[in-house]
Symmetry: C5
Subunit: 350 residues, 5 copies
């Protein structure tokens, strides 16, 4: 049952998950770091999750797997998250967006990667909640997306250890957006592959594949387009949660986002141009085939007709009895054929 059919009529803010279960067991990682220390541990029972509002250390909680609604609700309660936000976290059909609240900022992103075996783009929703001294991440499945950031946290001298929760949120978004470039490169490879085929006039299945690329491009575009506004809002945000000195990083993120959007646009225009090329090329080829057919018909139809005439059985056909008539007719046929060939040569059909 789809999300909206399930939700139909329920009160807004009802926390409800209708997606597929993508991990066996929900994984809860709790990382607390400050300039000097990092403590990473896995929480097995959600009731153990605690949050100290006044701590100077930064708490980063990663929840992998969304099917256990209880865990989400409990986390919401611990960090004081609005119910509508929890609803949005679980509705994995969300578009990327940012919502500013007094005490936290809610960010929805899409992590996109290419599933080579199915040759399709996989969308995974990444929800980030940024608070004064905490960051919550909700992801659908375990693909080690944030591994490099954990690594960087472990080295004590890193900028990340010395910066606030806003810098962590930035780093998370940066890693998601960098993935888009890798995806774009993969799609451009495919495009080049089919472009080559079309330029060389190969037709086998090219069309359906180009259509598939177009469909993927549309879905990609849909996931990326809202990012422009999202990142711009974060850059301009006057929320105390994002420090002034870090706004340069969000500016950088904005530049990357624009670049992704523009490349997706170029890519879309190329796909369109490619389809036009294919269409025109197909018209040209039909034209070529028609010419061959017409040349053959135009040469042989009159000749066959002449042969047909002298194949008639009329008693009184004087030509038949002329000794050189057969050779004369053969000669005429050759002349007709040659004239036709010259004619078509001139018309540039040959």
């Amino acid at each position: 049952m789809s999300y909206y059919q399930a939700k139909k009529g329920l009160a807004p803010g009802t926390v409800l998950y209708t997606g597929r279960k993508k991990v066996e067991k929900v994984l809860i990682e709790n990382i607390i770091y400050s300039q000097n220390d990092v403590a990473e541990n896995k929480i097995l029972n959600i009731s153990e999750l605690e949050y100290n509002k006044d701590s100077d250390a930064i708490q980063w909680v990663i929840i992998t797997g969304l099917h256990d609604v209880g865990i989400i609700e409990r986390t919401g309660a611990v960090f004081n998250i609005h119910n509508l936000v929890l609803e949005d976290i679980l509705n994995t059909g969300q578009r990327p967006k940012v919502d500013f609240f007094d005490e936290n900022i809610f960010i929805v992103l899409k992590n996109l990667h290419f599933n080579a075996s199915k040759s399709e783009i996989v969308h995974e929703q990444v929800s980030i909640i940024l608070g004064k001294n905490f960051v919550l991440c909700f992801v659908e499945k375990d693909d080690n997306l944030f591994f490099p950031i954990k690594e960087r946290l472990r080295s004590s001298g890193s900028k990340m250890r010395n910066s606030g929760s806003d810098y962590l949120a930035y780093a998370l978004m940066d890693i998601v957006i960098d993935h888009y470039f890798i995806l774009l490169e993969k799609m451009e490879e495919h495009l080049d592959f089919y472009e080559n085929k079309i330029i060389n006039g190969e037709q086998s299945n090219v069309l359906n594949n180009v259509y598939k690329l177009k469909r993927e491009n549309l879905s990609l575009n849909n996931a990326i387009w809202p990012l422009r506004e999202l990142v711009a809002q974060l850059e301009r945000a006057e929320s105390g949660l994002i420090k002034k000195k870090n706004s340069i990083y969000f500016r950088d993120l904005y530049d990357h986002t624009i670049q992704v959007i523009e490349r997706t646009g170029v890519y879309r225009d190329l796909l369109t141009a490619l389809l036009e090329l294919h269409l025109s090329g197909s018209g040209n080829r039909t034209n070529e085939v028609m010419k061959v057919l017409t040349v053959i018909s135009t040469i042989f139809m009159p000749l066959t007709f002449i042969a047909g005439i002298y194949g008639m059985n009329f008693r009184n056909m004087p030509e038949l009895f002329v000794p050189w008539a057969y050779f004369a007719v053969l000669g005429i046929m050759v002349v007709i054929a040659i004239l036709m060939l010259i004619y078509f040569k001139r018309k540039k059909w040959l």
Copy 2:
């Protein structure tokens, strides 16, 4: 007679209904609720409808069926509604819009649902008037659209019982917009169905159906597009009728609206891509057919011509009397055919 031909020349604000009668008898439901109580009753005679301006309870009136102009006018008089608003309620060709008045807010929405038997989208106009302590709903027919809200009102602890008339109006709009997602899912199913057919090269009637989808998509888009502005105006509204703390709900509604609009857009682009695919595929198929024809003609026309030559009745055709000539000619024919086949193989026409 169409609405505008009927209206032509009448004074603006003339209350006039030219739509079809979609219910036998106009149904008037009068629900009065406060934190502690709910009173639901059906009003049989419009003159019984009363409104207490100073009550703390919230009055929700649902009028189902628009063909009885008297009832609309009387309701307008009771709740002090401007005549132009009444005119708009009855002109079911309205586009979605919101009008702010000093004492109330007038909202026009379209409830869209898919009529499976006719396989077309049905538009139904839903007019909502939000006042300080009342909400009026005008719908064209009885399809239990607001049933879940009535249910929620009945349970005393629900948020709805504890919130004001603005929250009720929000809930009504939310239920209408959630229906769009269900509709979109249905349309996407259809799209996938025809996409599959086109990719597999089936042609029977696909085109007309895709065109029909396109037509529906256009009409859907037309009904949804104005929603963006409408909901944004409500969110930003500085009218005292919408409480600050409820603006987050309208923000949520706005997000949903944007999502519906974007999905409709993607859907439209897919339909276009699908038509292009069909067009190109059709060109390809014509090409294929042409090649078969040309190969057959090119092989058999010369052969038939040769047979024709030796079918001529000239007295003096020396070859005819050579004993092995027949077999030689057959051999030549086979050679010609084989050469042709090789040639076409090379040209990749086979």
Copy 3:
């Protein structure tokens, strides 16, 4: 001679008319009304036209026919109208616009109606000048456009009698814009008609007619598009000439205008979709025809070739003397034909 070729080099503000004379004699109607009285009379000599700047009654002058430049100039002088405005009134190629002056507001509209006999849209320029206590109307020909308003003026209790000149101007604009809906309904009928034909694969002349609809839609769009800005300016106007309490009527006008513009847009998109449908359908039909041709050729060419072989006159053709050879050849031909049919059935060409 076209307007611009005639105007070339004349001073701006030169009052000049190059349009066709659409009425025999210019008709000048002078209606003066107040809450209690209405006086309607026709002015035969323009010098009789008078205007009392300080009267409380509202003066409505309708001038039908623009070819008598003297009348226009005299009217301009009486009501103190700027020469550039008079120039614009006579240049019937104006686009809809509004110009605000200190003492009056100049509005240009297009009255569009469908000329069934020529089956084309007729444009007629309607110029309205709104002053403190007067409204001037300039129309090209006598089609009783404002008849319903005159009727309403005659009944003493009507809102129109009790409202100012701005309400009269609004009513005039409302009647022009309501006409657009009637026109749109007519065009949609035509669209449905041709859509039906195209879906059923009829081709006779459909294309040219759809093109004609497209051309009309473009010209309609051109006449309607500027209205959005025009009406919005009137709604927002801070001119003392439009009373605050009447701005709700202009808001209503604005809604209607948006609706007309949107329906024209949907209509344009449908026309485009229709042409695409026709193009694709035409490709499909060519494909069908080709298949028939190819099937016929592919079956009969080999058979005819076989018959040709045994029609050759070689002395030594052993098969000819085998008693059952004829029947064997017939049998082989039938087998070939059947195999071909099976092949084409499999390829779904039959």
Copy 4:
């Protein structure tokens, strides 16, 4: 050598002309007028050009021909014009624009006219510099563009004599923009001509001509588009050089500009629709031709095959000896042909 290849690496503000020499000798007209007097004279030597900053009379200098860089530089020196402006006057590839300086306003326009002999649109750059009491015009060649204005200046009572330099500049711009209407009318004539041909199915060379119109439309659009912003800036200008009371004239100019832009847009859409019509029509015609071919082939191929069968020379073909067999076969052929015709009639291919 193109302008940019010549300019490459030179300092900005270098005055350089690479266009063709369009007049033999640069013509310098110097017109000084006030309410009472007009003095027109031709300056033969640029050193005679003088300018009195404090004169009440208005000085209008028209320089026809741009190839003499010295004259341009000297004029710039006399009237104190910035070097970048002189550079722009000579770079005739400029787009229309307006630049505001403290002491003058620099306006670049394109004068477009249709060269009937070459059947192409000719672009000529018109640069206008408006100062407190002077107007400079730079045009590429002598086509008497401003003749009507000179005429009007000569009559002492004219508005032009009584208005300032800003009104003169307005009049110059008005005359240039009025030319666009004449050009548009010419292009619409062409469009109608080809439209007619396409509707009647004529094909000879239509396509290339429509393409040419499209190319011209694009170049026209490019020259006109920036005018909107240009004239709007002049209308809104708070420069003391444009008097408040004359802003109504620039408003009028703005209306004309919008009208030109919109008509160019409609014209472009019509060209696109025309190409679509042609494309669809061409598809239809191919379809028609194919049907004829298929009908002919489908009727005669089976018949010819039957004739072929009874042309075979088998000794044992019993039918051949049946006396009425020939007539029976002829009869069968007629029946087959008739059945085919009925079939095609039903399929609506005939």
Copy 5:
């Protein structure tokens, strides 16, 4: 390995270069100039690079070649550049942009030139950092792009020597943008070349080449589009680094940029129109070919059939024995052929 795959997971601001090495050795030019002096020298060891913050002379450093990360980092340290800027300098896939910092302005441009041997557009990233008394340039390879500016610096009277660092930055940008015009002229030559071919109906390889132009146009557009915003920001900049009196130069740059963007747009539209022309032309040609085929078939098929009839071997075919029958049949055939020709003449197929 692509830049983003290499960067994946690294901390933002990590300076990393993955592009190809385009020069053997990084070249560092250090030019210090004031009104009176110019000192040009090449720096062999980056540690020799010095910067005097308080000098009145202007220091211009050009670094050619980006593969030595150490040099970039050291330069960044000397001139106090933010690490994110260094990252952007090395990521040569940047889009044109401008970033304002407190002490400097960072500008990324694309230098585009046409590589005739590979017939493709080459993109080279040019990064400019403008400080109070210095300008840094980072280019990928040594193509003497800035040679004319060095020349101008050498002549002591030049404006450049007398102006500040902002004027130098302007001159650098101007030279890059002027190159676009040269590129556009080259592309327009190509376009004209293929346009001619298409108009003349030549087909050999035209399509693939037009597609290639389209692809290049898209990439060009992508590089140019962001310039509009970039230059506008510089023109409006309230940074103290750009002096008010020089803003006219940036205004000029803006005009050029708009012109480049518009010409690219026209060029794109022409390419589209060209493809449409080709497609329609190809449809027309197919039509022509079909007509020839149909005419030939329609004439000869009936004739061959008649010949086939009298080639049948029925014993009892009375016509065969009529002495003039053969000539009668020949006559009938001629008549049929002539009638057909007349018919096709009327249908305008000949």
